[in-house]
Structures are given as structure tokens and as C-alpha cells.
């Protein structure tokens, strides 16, 4: 029997089918129902907003640069979680992103685009 690129995926698919079927058929796996009860009263809206902000961060990191995108992410996500003072959140975002950019890019030598492309950043 030759070993091909699809040998492993096919074998894994078989095992996946077997274990998933066992999960459904074997008694005593009632945690799902119990856990479903615990879903109530959770902060779903804030969580969805944070996930959205993380996606936005991923999309904006290169076009607008590390410092602007990180500051924006820290400011907006801290406001989602209850911060009301913009001066505090903006200064926290700016100072922390500046320090981290300096440590990563300058000290450790891992390239991070700092500024938006239109004012000199090279994505």
C-alpha cells in the first residue's frame, strides 16, 4: 500500500467519523445541555464587538500602521468594556503602542510598520 498525500487525511477523516459518532451514541455525555444553561446572562454584545474590533485591527494593521491601529484598538475596546475617559484611553494606547513598537522593531529587530503608508510607512 503506497503512502500518498491523501493517505493521512483519509485515515483522519475515518477516525473523525468514528469518534464523532461515539460522541453522539455513547451515553453520559450530557455536559452540552448543562453548559447551555450557563450561556444565559453572558455579555454577548461586548464579546461580538471585541471580535469585530480584532478583525478591524487585523485589516488595518498594515494600511494605517502599528501605532495608529493599536491605539485605535485599545481606545475602542476599552470603551466597549466601560472606559469613559477618552484622554486616558488615547494616552494609554499611544504610550503602550509606542513602547511596544520601539521594543519589537528597534530593540529586537522584528520589522513592524509604524506609520500609515500615506505619511511614510512601508507596508
Amino acid at each position: 500500500m503506497p503512502f500518498k498525500p491523501n493517505t493521512m487525511p483519509l485515515g483522519l477523516a475515518g477516525l473523525g467519523i468514528l469518534f464523532s459518532s461515539l460522541l453522539l451514541l455513547v451515553p453520559g455525555n450530557d455536559e452540552l445541555e448543562k453548559d447551555a444553561e450557563g450561556w444565559r446572562g453572558f455579555a454577548w454584545k461586548s464579546t461580538a464587538l471585541l471580535i469585530g474590533l480584532a478583525i478591524g485591527y487585523a485589516l488595518l494593521l498594515r494600511p494605517i500602521g502599528f501605532i495608529a491601529s493599536t491605539t485605535l484598538f485599545i481606545v475602542l475596546s476599552s470603551h466597549v468594556l466601560g472606559e469613559t475617559n477618552f484622554v486616558k484611553s488615547i494616552s494609554t494606547g499611544l504610550i503602550s503602542s509606542g513602547i511596544i513598537w520601539y521594543l519589537v522593531d528597534d530593540v529586537l529587530g522584528i520589522y513592524l510598520v509604524a506609520l500609515p503608508a500615506i505619511i511614510g510607512g512601508t507596508p
Binding site: 500500500m1 500518498k4 493521512m8 464579546t47 480584532a54 485589516l59 476599552s78 468594556l81 529586537l108 513592524l112
Partner: protein, 498 residues
């Protein structure tokens, strides 16, 4: 062994490496205190930096410092706010948190620091003695046996599962191996499951996976479960750091027993610090005199010393299969294994012969890590807890930010971030469903090696004949099957009885 130790000392004790171990312990302790960033995530964050350092010995010394620091940092948040960031420190909160609530937070942290030091140091001595023996045995292994060992590692991972979760753990393990098949395999040039995305050609980056599976869901859970994260806002008084002579006498035999037990549990692939800490806690509770036994769970100093020692000794023990066989004994060593591969080091039986300076430098770095951790943390105990008072509205964004940037700086690729967020959402849903995530990451890390060794063994034997042609392969596979079937049968019996 003495030559090796001297070689390790030569490699490890340079001003640069001493700075590395200090930085590692310092960063590990501070970041490890943040729930959501356990040793796994912190090491993952530090890997790109370690790779930049270039010299494998210095990089490993940094990572060892981070590892020990992170374990101690995790215990700190367990003790102070009852929020263990990782499973391995859950048992420390059983008695550590009641001690902290009773105004003995400082003493509890001191016990944790000293027991971690003792467990880690005794573990490192045991590692020095046993690793070369295991390494000699390991040289008898060929690709067929390696394949069988990987299977054994995967099935033993079910130990992460807990009661009634064996099938869920197996599903996660298979999912992890499946994710490892994305991209080109080492034996073929055919791209698999890339969906036309060029960035997936080389597979899923393991830091992205780790961040997506651990750090991001932890942060999302803190947002979802406001009660839990608001508990972090509690202020904790840290006074009275001293341990009395009577208390020292009380914990000394506990430390001795749990260092040994923890180390050997840690050596077993898949067992790790969590199992060692729970086992240690249970054993010490049974061994304690009747009066003391009642105190367990209410602030017993033995109840804190046992899991703290066992947990650290197990962490050191898990380095044995990683260094000598290339099999991670825990989720964290699975990530360290990835780091070693990224540093062009192939862990396994040849490591001691091919790169002895790296092997011994790792062992010396463990001593150094433990000593530096103690020197650094005892005076800092009153101050380090202040980090936990970072308001939730900033703590969570920073946890998410650090996980995103950890994945980004490794590949300098924004697609990684989107993959990570997708994985994070998937992991959050899986956590709700009670699916354990460590088996997934170990499946992922072992998956690539499993496929390579299976492919080589099958090519050599012309099929699956190698399984019954080689007695050692068959023996290991039978053991793996037994480890797989036994908990299922035990579970079923219990369900039927109930």
C-alpha cells in the same frame, strides 16, 4: 555527565545568558500573572524573540526563564484572586486562596515561591540523572517506533480529558492532527486544504494556533463572564511573608515526596503538571494526620505546598521525553518543541550527541531559572500583585492585543491574524461544549511528525507490515490501544452503575 555539566555551565553562564534568564523570569512572572496568558501563550509570544536571538542555548535559556516565571506568575493569580490562568495551578488555589483570604497572602506566595524552587531544582537534578539513560534507550527507536510513540503520545493525551471527556479529547486530538495536514507535507509537494490561500501553503503557523486556542478564548471568556473577571478587581493585602520553623518542618517532607512524584508523572507523555498537581494534592491529603486533613481546602500550608512542588517538578520532568524522544510531555513542552524545531534543533535521541552544548545548557538553565526566580520574586512579592489591579477594561484589550501581535510578528502577515481570530471563536465555542483544548494543540504539534514517520515506515516496509514485523512497534501500539480503551471502559462502567 560532569563533562556535560561543565559544558552546559560554560554555555549558560555568560553575562548575556544571565541577562536572558533574568529577563525571562521577570517577564514570565509578570505576564504569567495575567489570566489568559499561561506559560503556553507566553512562550508562544517569546518564540519570535528567541528566534531572533539566534544562538539556541541563549534562546532556550530565555524560554526556560519565561517558563518557570510564568508558572510562578500563574500560581500568584491562583492564590490572590482564585483565578488560575492555567489548569496546572488550579490545585494551588484550593488552599492558597483561603490562605490569602485569611490575611496570609504574603505567606502563601512565599510558600509557593519556595516550593516551586525546590520542586524545579530537584526535578532538574532528576532530569540530569535520568535523561541520558532514557536517551540511550531512545536510540533503539526507528521511524516505525517513532510513529508508534507519536500514537502513544496522542492517546495518553486523553489524560487531559478529565471525567467523561475521553471521546471529546480524542475528537480534539484528531482535529489537531487534521489541522497539521494543512499545507504541504514534508514527504510530498502536493498542497492540501489550502483553499487557494497562498499563506496556507506552508501550513498553519503554530503560534497562531496557540494564541487562537488559549489566549484569545480566555480573553473572550473574561468579557462574556463579567462576574469572574470583576473578581479580579478585589484588593489583596500582602503582609507577613515569613514561614515559621514549624511550618518549614511541616512542608519539608511534602516537598521531598512531591518533587519525586511530580517529576515521574511529568515524564509520562501527556500527563504533565495538571495531573501531578492534583495527584500530589490528593496524596498529601491522604497522608496528612486527621486534624490536618480537615484543614485541606480551608487554607492548609501542606495543601498549597503539595501542588506547587509537584507542578514544578512535573514541568521539569516533561522535558525528559521532549529532549530525548522528541515527544512533548505537556502542552507547554509541545510549544517548546516547536520552538526547538524553529531554532533548527531536532530533539530526540541524537540531541545529546549532536548538540551536547544545547542539551546541557537547557539543564543548567533550569537551575539558573529556579535560582533567579527565587532571588527575583521573594523581594518583589508585595509589588507584583499590583499588576492584577489593572482595570478589566484595559486588561482584556491588552490580552487580545498581545495575542494578535504575538501571531503577527512571527509571520509578518495579516492573514495570520484573521486565521487566529477564526480559531479563537472556534475554541470559545468548543470550550462551551466542554471540549478540552490541550489535546488539539498536542495533536497539531505531533501530527506533522506522525505523518512523516508513518510515511517513512510505510515506504520502507512497502505497507503497514512494519506494525507486526517490529515487536517494539507492536508493543507500543498495543499499549496505546490499552490507554485508549481503559478509560472508555471505566467511564462506561460508571455510567451503567449510576
Amino acid at each position: 555527565m560532569i563533562d556535560g555539566l561543565l559544558m552546559g555551565l560554560g554555555a549558560a553562564i555568560s553575562p548575556f545568558n544571565l541577562i536572558m534568564v533574568f529577563i525571562g523570569c521577570f517577564l514570565g512572572t509578570f505576564i504569567g500573572m495575567l489570566p489568559g496568558l499561561g506559560p503556553m501563550s507566553i512562550i508562544a509570544i517569546m518564540i519570535p524573540i528567541a528566534i531572533q536571538i539566534g544562538d539556541p542555548a541563549s534562546a532556550l535559556i530565555l524560554l526556560s526563564g519565561v517558563y518557570y516565571g510564568a508558572i510562578f506568575g500563574g500560581s500568584t493569580s491562583s492564590i490572590l484572586i482564585n483565578a488560575p490562568g492555567v489548569a496546572g495551578t488550579v490545585a494551588s488555589s484550593f488552599d492558597g486562596y483561603p490562605m490569602a483570604r485569611a490575611g496570609q497572602a504574603g505567606k502563601a506566595l512565599t510558600v509557593a515561591a519556595i516550593c516551586s524552587f525546590a520542586g524545579g531544582t530537584i526535578g532538574a537534578i532528576l532530569l540530569m540523572i535520568f535523561a541520558p539513560v532514557l536517551s540511550t534507550v531512545a536510540k533503539l527507536f526507528w521511524s516505525a517506533e517513532y510513529f508508534a510513540l507519536m500514537v502513544l503520545g496522542l492517546t495518553a493525551i486523553a489524560a487531559f480529558a478529565g471525567k467523561g471527556k475521553i471521546i471529546k479529547a480524542l475528537c480534539m486530538t484528531v482535529l489537531g492532527v487534521m489541522l497539521a495536514t494543512v499545507g504541504e507535507s514534508a514527504l510530498h509537494n502536493a498542497a492540501r486544504f489550502t483553499m487557494g490561500i497562498m499563506d496556507l501553503q506552508s501550513g498553519i503557523y503554530f503560534v497562531t494556533l496557540v494564541m487562537g486556542l488559549f489566549a484569545l478564548p480566555e480573553a473572550l471568556f473574561l468579557v462574556l463572564d463579567e462576574k469572574r473577571s470583576k473578581a479580579m478587581a478585589n484588593n489583596n493585602k500582602i503582609e507577613n511573608l515569613r514561614i515559621s520553623k514549624e511550618e518549614a518542618k511541616e512542608i519539608a517532607p511534602v516537598v521531598a515526596r512531591q518533587s519525586l512524584l511530580g517529576f515521574f508523572v511529568g515524564v509520562l507523555p501527556g500527563a504533565g503538571a495538571t495531573m501531578a498537581s492534583f495527584l500530589g494534592y490528593g496524596i498529601e491529603r491522604n497522608l496528612a494526620p486527621a486534624g490536618e486533613r480537615e484543614k485541606f481546602g480551608k487554607g492548609s500550608i501542606r495543601g498549597l505546598a503539595a501542588p506547587e512542588t509537584a507542578n514544578n517538578a512535573a514541568c521539569t520532568g516533561s522535558f525528559v521525553p521532549m529532549l530525548t524522544l522528541g515527544i512533548p510531555g505537556s502542552g507547554t513542552t509541545a510549544i517548546l518543541l516547536g520552538a526547538l524545531v524553529a531554532l533548527s534543533i531536532t530533539p530526540g535521541p541524537r540531541l545529546m550527541e549532536d548538540q551536547p552544548e544545547v542539551f546541557w545548557a537547557v539543564i543548567i538553565s533550569m537551575y539558573l531559572g529556579n535560582i533567579v526566580l527565587l532571588i527575583l520574586n521573594l523581594p518583589l512579592i508585595p509589588y507584583i500583585a499590583k499588576l492584577l489591579t489593572v482595570p478589566r477594561r484595559y486588561l482584556i484589550p491588552f490580552v487580545i492585543f498581545f495575542s494578535l501581535i504575538g501571531a503577527y510578528i512571527g509571520q509578518n502577515n495579516a492573514t495570520e491574524l484573521l486565521i487566529m481570530i477564526g480559531l479563537g471563536c472556534m475554541a470559545t465555542v468548543l470550550r462551551f461544549g466542554g471540549f478540552p483544548l490541550p489535546p488539539l494543540i498536542i495533536g497539531f504539534i505531533l501530527g506533522g511528525m506522525l505523518e512523516d514517520n508513518l510515511g517513512r515506515a510505510m515506504r520502507k516496509a512497502g505497507g503497514l507490515e512494519f506494525i507486526w514485523d517490529r515487536p517494539m512497534t507492536l508493543g507500543i501500539l498495543v499499549l496505546a490501544l490499552a490507554l485508549l480503551v481503559y478509560p472508555i471502559m471505566k467511564d462506561r462502567k460508571k455510567v451503567i452503575r449510576e
